[in-house]
Symmetry: C2
Subunit: 257 residues, 2 copies
């Protein structure tokens, strides 16, 4: 039996608690023995409240401590752990392994997904990126990760940094393009809902096609006339600037191919 | 019985032929009587080859002629039609109604989706944007559109222009962000597949949340430290420029809220 303790009660923590609790219920060899949380009420519906502690000295012995707190708090939480030489990991895409305190064995358990409060996600399909200092620890992390996800990867700190930046492009920036699309619709009294099937299909295409194969539109087909019409149409300076920048990038990329 | 003729054999045309053929088979009151195509072989698997013509003089009388050709060819095709006062529409998001020849009654039948060759789409979920010069013609367009889609909208030329620009943002530009994410992954030996569940979830979120509610990441939470780390990480000038532009736009937008 692998004993796991989660530290934190935010978004990632809550989804992890739910997923580990589920795997435990179906008879796996993982046991979530405790959760550390300063806000007991945030997770009381997810986990046995007797096993929620808010004092580091009350932490039990476990095989794995998962620190699922905000990036800024990871180092300080790991500094406060009152034990040595146990396996302690964080769940962040952008914090290096070295941010964890040297008192314990370090690792990373990074589920690469965008988590929304109260929106259930199917952990089975969430890639979990693992890093550790030695292979025994890696095997343990792998066992825990595979109990909740079918997509487990060994990713070192440098690769994880790249992944995190790439995730900003395909998630944060993409969502901002949805915002700009919505803004343009609003300005011209068109329901944004009309664009939703297109948004879904654009994402679904990428599952089977490379982004280069899937690229369509005036920029890639060098349709200068349409581009000019669009530029003239966009009176909003910010929209126009982004249109220009991304059109140029698509065209430059086309020349490289 | 509404008699329809499609002119053209490209991507949109092929998907329309398949959808109209299907609706006809299930006993609807729409009949696809002919397809005009210079490349018979492109659509022979979709439609009775006896009813494919390649001479405008062979076109039969019909209630609706749908010109589904490239934007540049729409005006010239409509000029060549050897009849008058019939209903002729095009399927383009970016061409105005007025581009059609005055000999016939004009309209637009614009399915807003990204069509990929050999990838079936479910037309039921594709929004069709309609425009016409009078209400009788609109009713006919509506009847045809509703026979293949559950999402039919009255959209005038100005609104359609806005939709088309917005579609460039949420489709073409979004796909380019996927490309940049892929590029970053490749540069650091990380499989792009790890990002695919995130890409799907980002799109699916927008079905229930507004883009403003769904926005996450370092830019919106004003996390200057992470932004700096990312900027330092991006040695590619184009990636760095786009990172900066979109981060700034997210932050400016945050200030407006």
């Amino acid at each position: 039996m692998v004993k796991v303790i989660i530290i934190g009660s935010g978004n990632v923590s809550q989804h992890l608690i739910a997923a580990l609790h589920k795997t435990q219920n179906i008879g796996n060899e993982i046991e979530l023995v405790q959760v550390f949380s300063r806000k007991k009420e945030a997770i009381m519906s997810l986990f046995d409240s007797d096993k929620i502690v808010n004092d580091f000295d009350d932490l039990l012995e476990a095989d794995l401590y998962i620190i699922a707190v905000s990036d800024d708090a990871i180092a300080s939480v790991s500094d406060q752990l009152p034990f040595k030489n146990r396996l302690v990991v964080h769940t962040s895409g952008s914090v290096s392994l070295d941010s964890l305190n040297n008192n314990n064995r370090k690792g990373v358990f990074y589920p690469l997904q965008t988590f929304t409060k109260n929106k259930e996600v199917d952990f089975k399909n969430i890639p979990i990126c693992l890093e550790s200092e030695n292979s025994t620890d890696f095997q343990l992390l792998e066992k825990v990760a595979k109990s909740i996800s079918e997509k487990v990867f060994a990713i070192n700190s440098e690769q994880r940094k790249a992944l995190h930046v790439a995730a900003v492009f395909v998630n944060n920036f993409t969502n901002h393009l949805y915002h700009l699309g919505n803004e343009i619709c609003k300005e011209h009294q068109v329901p944004f809902d009309i664009l939703k099937p297109l948004i879904l299909e654009t994402a679904q295409k990428i599952i089977t096609l490379s982004p280069e194969e899937a690229q369509t539109g005036p920029a890639v087909r060098q349709d200068g006339k349409t581009i000019e019409t669009h530029q003239a149409f966009l009176s909003n300076k910010n929209q126009s600037n982004i249109y220009k920048t991304l059109t140029q990038s698509i065209q430059d990329n086309g020349k490289k191919l």
